[in-house]
């Protein structure tokens, strides 16, 4: 597997980014905590851009406050602005939880946020609002790390030694609200009591109707998060989560809650593993309805297997998702052409190697990738599908490789918040999109292509007599 060891970008310049910045992921994770609002400590622009990116992806109004630092504070420190920002946010939104993500600027200034918060809470005699700082300098990590760091900070803030209980913890990476809802449905089907974190299935995908509230209802309750310390186990879909940022590992190390790290339940094998794990934990039989769903997925896989065998997708995005998607491709007989992530240090290469060791073709694996590199590899390897977020749009626009949108962020299609890919049902929905995109491309061109290949301009066979 010579090609598989391509790791980081060799160039200095990053051309067409495959990742976003660290506080952005933090903002998403924090919306999974009930009654919370995010405040980005930094200049105004960063938080406006984060709102824009999230608004476009989730198709929801999303408020992110900023401490609006300007030149003066970069000399004298950002405390005064942060305090003013907290005052205003509390006044307008009345949150119970405020997460403060630091932008690159605040980090470079070296503001001591923990101390600022402490003095602020003392001065204002605030007891009922939890203010949680998360260090998220983008020069150290992408939105993926920001998501994990924030989730871990939330767990660390609330988890307390608690009595043991039979419930389980479920910690999810940056997946769609629809995916979260599906995971919850499966947990309910298996009859388990659980705390899922971060649960933004309602907050970032609000149904129309009812009274409009500034802070969307929903999210994991803080009482529930506190009880995570006493759970019988944690399931974390975080094979690629760096250890220092791992919420599940924190619970294991601090409170002895065993951590079960699983791949995202996308694809038959991964979903089977998830169901098996839930069965082991609950000792309940697998319900008939789930077995039926599995059967429909198997039926779909059988019917489409020969078409899927012709797929050579370029898969790109956050490491947890692309690992799961690569597994799904492999189990359907499709060997990816390119597997690429903008993130570094996710251990992706090590995870992929056993998966790909018997493959007849060699995918290119890229870490810390930009899209210029991905595009070049996709063309070289003859990719015929582009799977991932909107960043890959030039693969379609310029290289004519048909795209399947999944992941984050998505701004060139509607409905990023309800793309469903987990569970048996979600996998089948994804697989149908995958197969049908191939078919659409095929039906749109096979007559012309074959003709061009076999006949000359006059419509006569190319073959020499």
């Amino acid at each position: 597997m010579t090609d598989c060891t391509v790791t980081t970008r060799v160039r200095q310049v990053n051309e067409n980014q495959c990742h976003m910045c660290m506080p952005l992921g933090g903002v998403v994770a924090l919306r999974g905590v009930e009654h919370s609002i995010a405040l980005v400590h930094g200049s105004q622009g960063c938080s406006t851009y984060m709102r824009l990116a999230n608004v476009e992806h989730f198709n929801e109004p999303i408020d992110i406050a900023s401490s609006s630092l300007n030149e003066k504070q970069t000399i004298f420190g950002g405390e005064a602005n942060l305090r003013k920002a907290l005052d205003n946010v509390i006044r307008v939104y009345q949150p119970k939880v405020i997460g403060i993500m630091t932008s690159c600027l605040a980090e470079t200034m070296g503001d001591d946020i923990e101390r600022f918060i402490e003095t602020y809470k003392n001065d204002r005699e605030i007891r009922e609002i939890d203010i949680i700082p998360v260090s998220t300098p983008s020069y150290n990590g992408t939105h993926t790390e920001g998501f994990w760091a924030t989730t871990r900070a939330v767990v660390a803030y609330y988890a307390r030694p608690t009595e043991r209980h039979p419930g389980i913890n479920v910690i999810v990476p940056n997946i769609s609200p629809a995916d979260i809802r599906e995971i919850k449905r499966i947990l309910d089907l298996m009859g388990l009591e659980y705390t899922l974190l971060p649960d933004y299935s309602l907050t970032l995908d609000r149904p129309f109707g009812g009274r409009y509230q500034k802070i969307a209802p929903g999210g994991t309750s803080t009482a529930g998060i506190a009880r995570m310390a006493g759970a019988q186990a944690t399931i974390q879909f975080g094979l690629t989560c760096p250890e220092p940022l791992s919420p599940g590992l924190f619970l294991e190390q601090q409170f002895g809650v065993p951590l079960i790290n699983l791949p995202l339940p996308i694809g038959l094998d991964s979903m089977d593993l998830f169901v098996r794990t839930l069965h082991d934990l609950s000792r309940r039989p697998v319900p008939e309805s789930l077995v039926l769903e599995r059967g429909w997925l198997c039926d779909g896989m059988a019917d489409a297997h020969k078409i899927n065998a012709g797929a050579r997708p370029a898969i790109y995005g956050e490491p947890e998702l692309i690992y799961a998607l690569a597994k799904l491709c492999m189990e359907n007989g499709s060997i990816p052409a390119v597997i690429a992530s903008g993130t570094q240090n996710s251990g992706l290469v090590g995870l992929l190697q056993p998966l790909l060791k018997d493959a007849l073709e060699e995918p290119v694996i890229l870490e810390e990738a930009d899209f210029v590199t991905i595009e070049e590899a996709a063309v070289r390897k003859g990719a015929n599908l582009a799977i991932g977020h909107s960043g890959g749009r030039y693969l379609t626009e310029r290289q004519g490789i048909p795209g399947v949108r999944v992941g984050y962020p998505i701004h060139d299609r509607i409905g990023g918040q309800r793309i469903l890919s987990v569970g048996y049902t979600g996998t089948l929905a994804f697989l149908d999109r995958f197969t049908n995109t191939l078919l659409e491309a095929k039906h749109g061109s096979y007559r012309r292509l074959r003709k061009e290949e076999m006949l000359n301009k006059k419509g006569v066979s190319n073959a020499k007599a």
């Binding site: 622009g45 307008v92 009812g210």
Partner: protein, 463 residues
């Protein structure tokens, strides 16, 4: 549906310090405080200096735009505008120096220089704009020096754009930084001269959805040629011919007035304000341009064009006016220039403007807005979502024109929405833009969706 009041008991939608940024026409005569920086914690809609500069320079199609800073500043602005190009697509690549911790600690200058070298080697662009961002401003990288050296080394233009976002939250500062960069770029080198022509420059036009091409087609029909647009579908070589124009058109007051004044001083090129949003504005602007040339043939052709186009526009507007008369609108857009144009168009469609605001208006702009809206209209600077929501509900608005950040708030409240921002993919300029605008306003204001989604047929029977 209980959308009439969304405020949780006891919460304050408006922050005291913001009271001077909001006024109601006819009530208080006090000046609006629009040049203030965004208030901490208020969820301002404003972007940053860098974004302002980028908007203006981005459509220079064959230049490389290199963002010197951590990754996000570049990722967020990659290809987000619908500027079209007739040739090079270079400007749609997003280059970032992707600063890492070691660069922040030891300085980013070496990495910037290395990135420039890589880019030149790969693409040989005629110019590279290097944008500074907040962190770069903070760590004190001397981008001017790095650009100058790189320029010597490679024999191309490497132009620093001093756009550290934190200098001010206000985009106008960024427009100014971009203007500076443009003036630097077009200044003839020693011994060079630019030939004078009868052509005109078109300032503040970004060719979103091909708007520059559309206006160009009108002008050509009138017998007038565009020299170069600042900066829609321009190239570095075209821009360098800018001093050869006999007239500058200025559209979009926020970004280009200052450049026009500088061009007047430096090269003696006069300028006039134009506005191609709305049919009436378009007609007026075309007449203004024609009369500058003072040529009978041009005047005759101009009138013929206007007559022909108006014949197409009028019946469309009339048809939609029947449906839209009396509907209530709100406007929240980037600059006052656009707000004014939209107010005028909505009034032509028979609508009432209840609420209007911009992110970056100036005092004069707000005075002008106040003078054309009716009494009782709320005028607001740098509105935050809480305020927008409050006024949308309070004023019982049917449709809002704004940017994408407001779209889903409007939808959630069951209110129509028209996108009027830089990220549009189809243009709203000229006569055909006026038709498109009217059609969109109608489609969203009178959509059959609203009456349905606002009903709950199961109110009595749900548990």
């Amino acid at each position: 549906m209980e959308n009439d009041c969304s405020l949780p008991a006891g919460s304050a939608p408006c922050i005291d310090e913001r009271q001077f940024s909001i006024m109601t026409t006819g009530k208080n005569k006090s000046r609006i405080h629009c040049a203030d920086d965004s208030l901490a914690g208020a969820v301002s809609q404003r972007a940053c200096v860098y974004s302002g500069a980028r908007v203006v320079l981005n459509p220079v199609t064959d230049a490389v735009h290199l963002v010197h800073g951590p990754i996000g500043c570049a990722s967020y602005t990659w290809d987000i505008r619908g500027s079209l190009s007739s040739d090079s697509e270079m400007f749609r690549q997003s280059f970032s120096t992707d600063l890492k911790e070691r660069d922040v600690v030891f300085g980013g200058e070496p990495k910037l220089a290395a990135c420039i070298d890589e880019i030149v080697e790969k693409y040989h662009p005629p110019a590279i704009f290097v944008y500074s961002t907040c962190v770069v401003g903070m760590i004190g990288d001397d981008i001017i020096a790095v650009c100058k050296e790189a320029s010597h080394r490679h024999g191309i233009e490497v132009i620093p754009v001093e756009s550290s976002g934190f200098i001010s939250g206000n985009k106008i500062v960024g427009y100014r930084a971009a203007g500076d960069a443009l003036l630097k770029l077009i200044r003839p080198k020693e011994g060079e001269t630019v030939e004078k022509t009868r052509k005109l420059n078109y300032l503040g036009e970004y060719n979103l959805g091909g708007e520059k091409w559309l206006v160009e087609s009108y002008l050509r029909e009138m017998g007038i040629e565009i020299n170069v647009a600042f900066t829609g579908d321009s190239t570095v070589a075209d821009l360098k011919k800018a001093p050869g124009a006999c007239l500058n058109l200025v559209q979009c007051t926020g970004s280009m007035h200052w450049v026009a004044m500088s061009l007047d001083q430096e090269y003696g090129i006069p300028y006039i304000d134009v506005n191609f949003f709305g049919a009436e504005n378009t007609a007026e602007s075309l007449r203004k341009i024609a009369s500058f040339y003072g040529d009978d043939e041009i005047m005759r052709r101009t009138e013929a064009l206007i007559e022909r186009e108006m014949k197409k526009v009028r019946p469309v507007i009339d048809r939609y006016r029947e449906k839209l008369t009396g509907k209530r609108a709100a406007i929240y857009v980037g600059g006052a220039f656009k707000a004014l144009a939209i107010i005028r168009q909505l009034k032509e469609l028979g609508m009432e403007v209840m609420f209007t605001g911009t992110q970056t208006g100036k005092q004069e702009d707000y005075e002008q807005i106040s003078s054309i809206v009716s009494e009782g209209t709320v005028v607001i600077d740098d509105a935050n979502p809480a305020e927008i929501e409050k006024f949308l509900l309070e004023k019982d608005v049917d449709m809002m024109a704004g940017g994408v950040k407001e779209r889903f708030l409007a939808h959630k409240l069951g209110i129509g929405f028209v996108d009027h921002n830089h990220d549009r993919k189809d243009g709203l300029a000229g006569f055909e833009g006026a038709i498109r605008f009217a059609r969109e306003v109608y489609a969203t204001t009178c959509s059959p969706v609203w009456e349905r989604v606002k009903k709950n047929p199961f109110e009595e029977v749900q548990d």
